[in-house]
């Protein structure tokens, strides 16, 4: 059920390794939590934050993964085991049974390189790790062996169960990775491992490393405790409220959003990747890792951004096609070489319609950027296809420019309008339609743009355009471009409800002269206090008591909020990811480069708003692949690194579509 593992990757003490390695062997055991620390080499543990009594060893002796957690204190072991079990939500019976098998049939070759790989750690010798583990397990840690194995089970057994889509009985990470050479770096032959138990709410103490803003290499002098975790699967399937839906009535699918960093863009912006060794920036290596990541998770739907056209067609598409995906690609306009791609499992979905969107509009000064989007309507395939509503999947990569929130909103509005059109088509056929909006929105959580997506409305009047995305604070600037109505020209044909205006309306506003320039009461009112309407006409004679009125600012404010200057969309969307990691409350990030780290990638999915009782519907999130904190990522030497091939992390969620056969099969 729950597969959750925390790895504590160690901090590579490259500079001190030579000196430390000797001490290391002499003093292999270190207690943290203030009890006893390893003092060799000056790696002094600082303040400890949790009560978990955890001991650790250097990696020189031990295996790197949590399944090889070395505990000298049985108490600690018990604690960890206990935690593991707790997190497992009473699934310990299962785990126990697997555990025994695993304990006897443990295959270090299968497991250990996998972990060494996934941790992105450096090891002097991958094989020695394996041997060390065996030694540990059999000789040193007899008492803890059960626990060790169970940890492995949780990761490899239960984990795979939750993570992988149907048809993959076993999480075959090891097999996938078996042929990949262990990561070795001559300069950094060893690292430390700070293994711990698993569990999402767990904290573990390790030497804290202060990462100066300017350097990606930790200052050894400032050792304190730091946390390094691997990405874990967060399971929500049991915390869902409401009646459990019979498995036969539900359609579960996984969807990934992943900005894979186009090689052209990487090379055009070398300044963003100064922290990266060259080998992790090489496309061939990155491609391998990207494809491996896709193969590991095998999402039913993959939404990619920054996909370079030549790479996609020549290198990625053949692999994806082989894996059973149908792919749609849309290159950005102009001379851009990258674009968006959506790939869906042909076994699980069939395509009802697709729309490739270009945000560049020749007749619109605002929309002069080359971003694109793909919106497609997929019909889930199952034994009860009839009862399953279609899913509208949108994938986009909005403009990056932090100053141009106006452009971002307009681009997003086009996406929403297209989604709306697809939904309307379904609705006209009497079918409901769920929505998943994926992509790199280049906006931060809780930014106005984010809130607009989440809440369905945004009062934008007067908002500085740089503030829309929350990427950068430009408040120091003297002059602010601000959002004013109309956000985009009516010629775009998109209303401020993010819907395409009806044919006649669009035609009417586009052709001149027109015979029917109609404005509803509301649309007239929307312009009530637009800036152009607040200027006193030059030719207006001042007649006391008649034309001496001035617009009341308070009135304007109230009026604006009530009647207009607000952007709406009618989708009810929730973000699959929260801006903080649920376990540590540290900010989760989806991208990191030399300029900083942030969450800009999202998967939004349909929810049924509370209050609409009787209308079951929307998608349920069953689980997601956790994001990491910036500190975690810097411990992995930033992005891209050996493990994560892009400067973004992939987002992966598992969603459940409920069958309509139950109560209301028709929704109009």
């Amino acid at each position: 059920m729950i597969a959750s593992v925390m790895f504590y990757a160690l901090y590579p003490l490259s500079r001190f390794f030579g000196r430390l390695s000797e001490l290391w062997r002499k003093a292999p055991c270190v207690y943290v939590n203030g009890k006893e620390v390893w003092d060799g080499g000056g790696a002094v543990s600082g303040a400890q934050q949790t009560g978990l009594s955890l001991q650790w060893h250097s990696a020189g002796d031990t295996g790197p993964g949590p399944d090889h957690a070395e505990t000298e204190s049985p108490q600690g072991a018990l604690e960890m085991a206990c935690m593991g079990t707790c997190v497992n939500d009473g699934n310990d019976e299962e785990a126990a049974s697997v555990r025994e098998e695993e304990a006897s049939a443990r295959d270090p070759v299968m497991n250990d390189p996998a972990f060494s790989r996934t941790e992105g750690q450096t090891h002097s010798d991958g094989h020695s790790c394996a041997h060390a583990v065996e030694t540990d397990a059999h000789a040193v840690y007899d008492a803890d062996r059960m626990m060790d194995s169970s940890l492995a089970d949780l990761y490899l057994g239960s984990g795979s169960e939750a993570l992988l889509h149907t048809g993959s009985p076993v999480y075959d990470l090891s097999a996938l990775l078996a042929d990949s050479p262990p990561v070795q770096t001559a300069a950094e032959p060893l690292g430390w491992h700070f293994p711990t138990g698993l569990g999402l709410s767990q904290m573990c103490c390790r030497p804290y490393v202060q990462f100066p803003d300017v350097s990606y290499y930790p200052a050894f002098q400032h050792n304190d405790s730091i946390e390094v975790t691997w990405r874990v699967w967060e399971d929500f399937s049991e915390s869902r409220t409401g009646a459990f839906v019979d498995a036969a009535d539900a359609f579960d699918f996984s969807i990934m959003s992943y900005n894979i960093l186009a090689q052209d863009l990487l090379e055009a912006n070398p300044g963003l990747y100064t922290h990266c060794p060259e080998e992790v920036l090489a496309w061939d290596a990155r491609l391998r890792t990207i494809l491996r990541e896709l193969q590991i998770w095998q999402p039913d739907i993959i939404c990619l951004q920054e996909v370079q056209e030549d790479h996609f067609h020549k290198q990625m598409y053949p692999v994806l096609a082989e894996m059973g995906y149908t792919c749609i690609y849309k290159r950005r306009t102009g001379s851009k070489t990258d674009g968006c791609a959506v790939c869906y499992s042909s076994e699980r979905f069939t395509q009802l319609s697709v729309k490739l969107l270009e945000f560049r509009r020749p007749d619109c000064e605002l929309l002069d950027r080359d971003n694109v989007a793909i919106v497609l309507l997929l019909q889930p395939l199952s034994a009860h296809t009839e009862a399953l509503s279609p899913v509208c999947v949108a994938n986009t990569h909005l403009l990056f420019n932090p100053r141009r929130g106006d452009v971002k909103l307009a681009q997003l509005a086009i996406v929403f309008a297209e989604i709306d059109a697809m939904i309307e088509k379904c609705r006209s056929e009497g079918r409901r339609c769920e929505v998943v909006l994926c992509g790199d929105l280049n906006a931060l959580p809780n930014s106005p743009l984010w809130r607009f997506v989440s809440s369905g409305q945004l009062y934008y009047h007067g908002l500085p355009t740089w503030m829309v995305s929350g990427q950068t604070d430009l408040s120091y600037k003297v002059h602010h471009a601000r959002l004013v109505a109309p956000l985009w020209p009516s010629s775009l044909g998109v209303s401020d409800r993010c819907q395409y205006q009806s044919e006649s309306q669009t035609a009417a506003s586009g052709i001149f002269p027109v015979c029917n320039r109609q404005y509803s009461h509301d649309s007239m009112l929307q312009l009530r206090y637009c800036p152009a309407a607040c200027v006193r006409p030059a030719d207006l004679e001042l007649i006391p008591g008649v034309t001496d009125k001035t617009p009341d600012p308070e009135d304007m404010e109230m009026f604006s909020r009530r009647f207009g200057l607000t952007l709406h969309h009618s989708l009810s969307l929730a973000s699959a990811y929260s801006e903080v990691r649920p376990d540590t409350q540290s900010p989760a990030v989806s991208t990191l480069n030399s300029d900083g780290a942030a969450m800009v990638d999202y998967i939004f999915y349909s929810t049924r708003r509370s209050g609409s009782a009787g209308e079951e519907g929307g998608l349920q999130m069953l689980g997601r692949l956790s994001l990491l904190s910036a500190a975690d990522l810097w411990c992995l030497k930033g992005l891209p690194n050996q493990t994560f091939p892009s400067d973004h992390l992939s987002l992966l969620v598992k969603l459940q579509l409920r069958s309509l056969s139950g109560s209301n099969s028709r929704l109009v």
């Binding site: 109309p486 109609q518 404005y519 509803s520 009461h521 006193r536 006409p537």
Partner: protein, 236 residues
Amino acid sequence: MNNKFDALKDDDSGDHDQDNCSPKDGEKEKNDEEEKDSNTTKTKVVVPGAGEHPLQYNYSFWYSRRTPGRPASTQSYEQNIKQIGSFASVEQFWRFYSHMIRPSDMTGHSDFHLFKEGIKPMWEDDANKSGGKWIIRLRKGLASRCWENLILAMLGEQFMVGEEICGAVVSVRFQEDIISIWNKTASDQATTARIRDTLRRVLNLPPNTIMEYKMHTDSIKAWEDFHGLVNASGGR
């Protein structure tokens, strides 16, 4: 000379709120300056600004008020009505509207007129002479809201009667306010019915609201009768 205000002085019931000037030019007392300011159509063509929302027609605001203290007999309608400005887009409309007081705040015997550019708010205008108007009498306190709803519907082409609409008027009187909308062809019942139904909808009127249609020819005749009466009694 007498004009409509003589009649209105004694009859504030409001159906003469759009009383027009006498067609007899010789009766008018006006100087050139006033005429230039208030009554000549501005030569400048009003066009929508860049990016603005153009209206189907250009419109002009007019304002009229009976000057207190002066005998009504000395005032002509045309003299008392002043063109405030013209606009061609929704934004330009609000620009004027925002700088004009609301009808409820007007004092005395005043009217706002909003007519298509080129149509004078007078019965005698070519566009009006065979037309008529729907009249709705409102108790005090409702005029501002109703007037705004009415003109938004008119500017936004919500009446759907082609080019039939000429303009709208709000008249502030002592005990009630009157709004009315003028159309070109009084005899076109389909049009007048449609205007009535739209009025009910956009003004959100209660079903029992009394709406009265009055042809301008009748208004002129009534005025002339009254005028003649006044003239007679005035010993002219």
